[in-house]
């Protein structure tokens, strides 16, 4: 049985004020929201390419409204970006499992050259990111926020509490690392 619907505004307030237990619940709700939004986009027959960063921005805008001067906005952004990654990875993993389970033929949207490769490639990326985070956790986080959240260095810097230049260096390193891992 599902839990009662949750007031997201209240949840965000609780999370902002540092309530540790709020983060898990909020993450779960954000995950759900992103899924719903992604689903709604595709169901509407919108553009075939679902832009992950666009979804993240839209979700943040929806959840925070016009509060642009909100001090923890970047932190919230980061939380949403993490969930976006989870949504995409879960989706890829599920379809991948479906195929192996021998279920009905998997139908994808047109326009993508080779869906099988696409799904596996995201999982590959995900696993590479996991490996990177064992070696350089911050660089992995910077990559995640950049690519899944569409965040810029100056937005990431306050979240990770380092300078913009450090973020740039992390990104250069993380990108090189992933490029090497994915090409082998």
């Amino acid at each position: 049985m599902s839990s009662a619907p949750i007031d997201l505004g209240e949840l965000i307030t609780a999370w902002r004020s540092g309530k540790a237990e709020a983060e898990a619940v909020l993450s779960r709700e954000v995950y759900q929201l992103l899924k719903r939004m992604a689903g709604a986009r595709l169901a509407q027959g919108g553009p075939a390419t679902l832009e992950a960063t666009g979804l993240v921005h839209e979700a943040v805008a929806r959840l925070l409204g016009g509060n642009s001067d909100w001090t923890s906005r970047d932190h919230f952004f980061a939380l949403v970006a993490m969930q976006m990654r989870a949504v995409l990875v879960d989706g890829a993993r599920r379809r991948s499992a479906d195929k192996r389970g021998g279920g009905a033929a998997h139908v994808t949207l047109g326009g993508v050259a080779d869906p099988v490769v696409t799904e596996d490639s995201l999982l590959e990326l995900h696993e590479a990111l996991l490996r990177l985070s064992e070696r350089d956790a911050r660089a992995a986080r910077v990559v995640e926020l950049t690519y899944f959240g569409g965040m810029r260095a100056h937005e990431i810097a306050p979240v990770l509490e380092v300078s913009d230049a450090t973020i740039e260096r992390d990104l250069a390193f993380g990108r090189s690392w992933l490029k090497r891992e994915l090409s082998t």
Binding site: G39, A52, G91, A104, T118, E119, L125, Y147
Partner: protein, 931 residues
Amino acid sequence: MSVLDYARVRDAFDVCVAVELERRGGLLAAIALNPEERAELDSLLAAHDAHAPHDEVSNRISAAAANSIDALERPARLGPWRITGEIGEGGMGVVLSAVRDDGEYDQTVAIKVIRGFSSAAARDRLRRERQILASLEHPNIARLLDGGSTPGGEPYLVMEYIDGEPLGEWASRAQPLRERIQLFAAICRAVAFAHQRLVVHRDLKPGNVLVRRNGSPVLLDFGIAKLVETDDTAGDGTRTHTMTPAYASPEQLRGEAVTTASDVFGLGLLLFVLLGGDVRQRLDPLRAASTSVNSASNAARGSEHAAVRAFAPQLRGDLDAIVRQATRLDPARRYPAASLLLQDIEAWLDGRPVAARAGDHWYQLRKLAYQYRAVLAFGVVLMLAAAGFTAQLAVERNRARSAEARALQEAATAREVVAFLTGLFADLDPRRSPDTANLSARELLDRGRANLDLVPASSPQARATLQRSLGDVYRASSQPQQAIELLSQARAVFAADPDAVADLIEIDTVLSQAHNEMLDVDAALAASERAVAAAQPREAIDPRRLADSLMTRGVARQRLNRFDQALADFERAQALFERSGEQGRLGLTSVLHNRGWVAEAQGRNQEALDWYEKAVAAKRALLGEDNPFTFNSVTAQAKVLALLGRNQAAAAVLDALIPRVARVHGERSLSYRMLQGELGSVLQDLGRLSASETAYLRGLELSRQVEGDTLSARTAAMINNLATLREERGDLVQAERGYRESLAIRLRTLNPADLGIARAQSNLARALIQRGELDEAGQLLDQANASRRAALPAGHPELLISDGMRLEWLLARGDLGGANASATQLREALASTPTPPAPRSHARILAVLARHARAIGDTQRAVALFDSALEKLGTALPDNHPGIALLRLDLAETLRASDPARARSLRAQAQAVLEVALVADAPQRARFRNE
């Protein structure tokens, strides 16, 4: 065995990529790394340097995202939901139970598969409207989680599955009365929550309320009836009927618009059922539409349940009244919002008096609400703020309409909107809703405007509709700049629609009003000319819109000093308003006001005051005290009182008005700022110079905040008035600076013929004369004089002021010959004018004539003229005003030889005032210090 230290690899990598490629070799040699680390670094640097046309990471992510949701579903599964069974079959289709079994989150849901949704357009609309419902998150509302289409193309809705007991069953058990009412309060709260987000349930009935084991109610199918009914393309045979006749409101049974009031009716029936009532009598729709429900206490007395019979006596009085009030046949006589019904329920629970028993006052509130259009319009904004997605709803409604159905549906939509607004109006009342009390109207507006960006650019119609609504609100709340921006954008879209003539007339009319408020008269005239031209051919069918457009054109003409044309527009509008019945009543009050304005502009101040007082009385009766239209006329009344020298009265009017304006429009509104300026001016005339300066500075500070670098002509007026205050205090440097700024703004913003420019030139000239800058002063006076003569009829008081300034200048130059001629002419004009200038200007003219008399040695006449100047000034200003003190000083200097005793006494009187009023380095100080 060496260990790979990643921190060292990373440090080396950072250093290497920071330098030029050719310097890297040297660097690498200098860095100590073990072989594993070196190999790792080398491969990473190679990846870094490798040329890649695309960003691999980004490519993988976007390709994966495109595939993240399956586009088609397998049978026995719908999306991520695995069907586990069937819950039931209802009017709209089958209801399935399902679980989500992707291992992430276990969740049981109810899936409604909707039948008979034949057209693709209807399905599209369903998909979109679903989003609005998905955003409805409340603990007492079952969530709409998801939705889609089955492989067969039937739409389905996924809802939170609620494990609970239907309300009817719950109520048939022996629940105590108080718990029943508490349960009902929770239901009301949920409905009020949804109403604030623009969602009407439409099908409230006991079967749609489940009570959880913990006793909390959950509303099912919120707004679903609406989703399903929108299949307007299906034939009658297949059309889905979702409302439940026994619980439907009379207006639903008649097929009229469903509003928040319909839900209030449904809530009333739920309460009735909770109290033991039985709605079987309503099974016949014809009877149900015209018969009220039984009284709750009577119904309970006849109940088959002993527990219900036991509390029947407690229902008499308050609870009977609440049910009656909620279930009135006429929607307009019910509680206007669920939140107000809730209030009565809470009052009952607290043992406080219940509003329903006070009589029909909701009806009056509703009537009033129709009149509070500006306040109501904030409701629109609240809606925008609360539900950005509503916009899309509006687009879809507009788009899907066939041409014939359009007019009818628009009328229905309009009724729905008004009903929503009425409900929101009540919700916005700060005494009832502490949440919205913290939001000023301005914040609501700005939030609404920000949310406009959520409207997809692909829906220009909806965007335009919302821009227009917001523009109207900005205009009504006295923020014309924002109004012009939004309305101009909206206009471009409406202008392309040949069926939108009436809308276009209204937009142009409001645009003209906004331009007028900005004193941009040319733009205002152009917009109103467009409106009149479009409204003219429709005079017979739509006299009121023509009248409205004539009124705004009259205002623009008036500002261009075309008084006769303006009066003609106002009088013609008056006749049209009289033909428009109820709709024209507001317009008639504006006619009263504008005729006052015409009189005022032509210097007939007493007549103007009479018109304004009539306008104030009419608006108070029609609109109430806290209405922007009433504010306008009260403001005008205060101004003309000040012109007539009745400053105490004017200050009293303003003191009462300003807090009201702050409450309704906010402190950053143009009208609040301008009233601070007006108050400053009245206080200045009352001699309360510090308070006056405070008021001016407050208004100016806010104006500079709001207007930034592009100060408006209105602000220029405030700057000008502050400069006159500084001039009075002998601070000529600041005065000159202020006058220059005011003139510069007016030259930039006003029509060249506008007399505001002439007045600014004249004022600057006066300051320059006192500072000895006679050449520039002379040029300015020439320009001012030319504009005034071109615009004003002979004998107009402002022309006398112009002549007075000329004489002042001639005297300052020592040109006695010119001064003699000018003085003779001025004396004659003053004696023969039918409309003497206001007391201050009149005194100023008499004083300059006196100085002329003194200059030519005619002391006796000079004394007489100074005395009459003082007398005139005394009618407008208090005795301790620095303006009077300065005149006394003049008179004392004139009397020095002939009447030294009086001269000494006058000088002493003046000195006492001026010591306080003048700034430290005021040149006038020398005049009493040197004696």
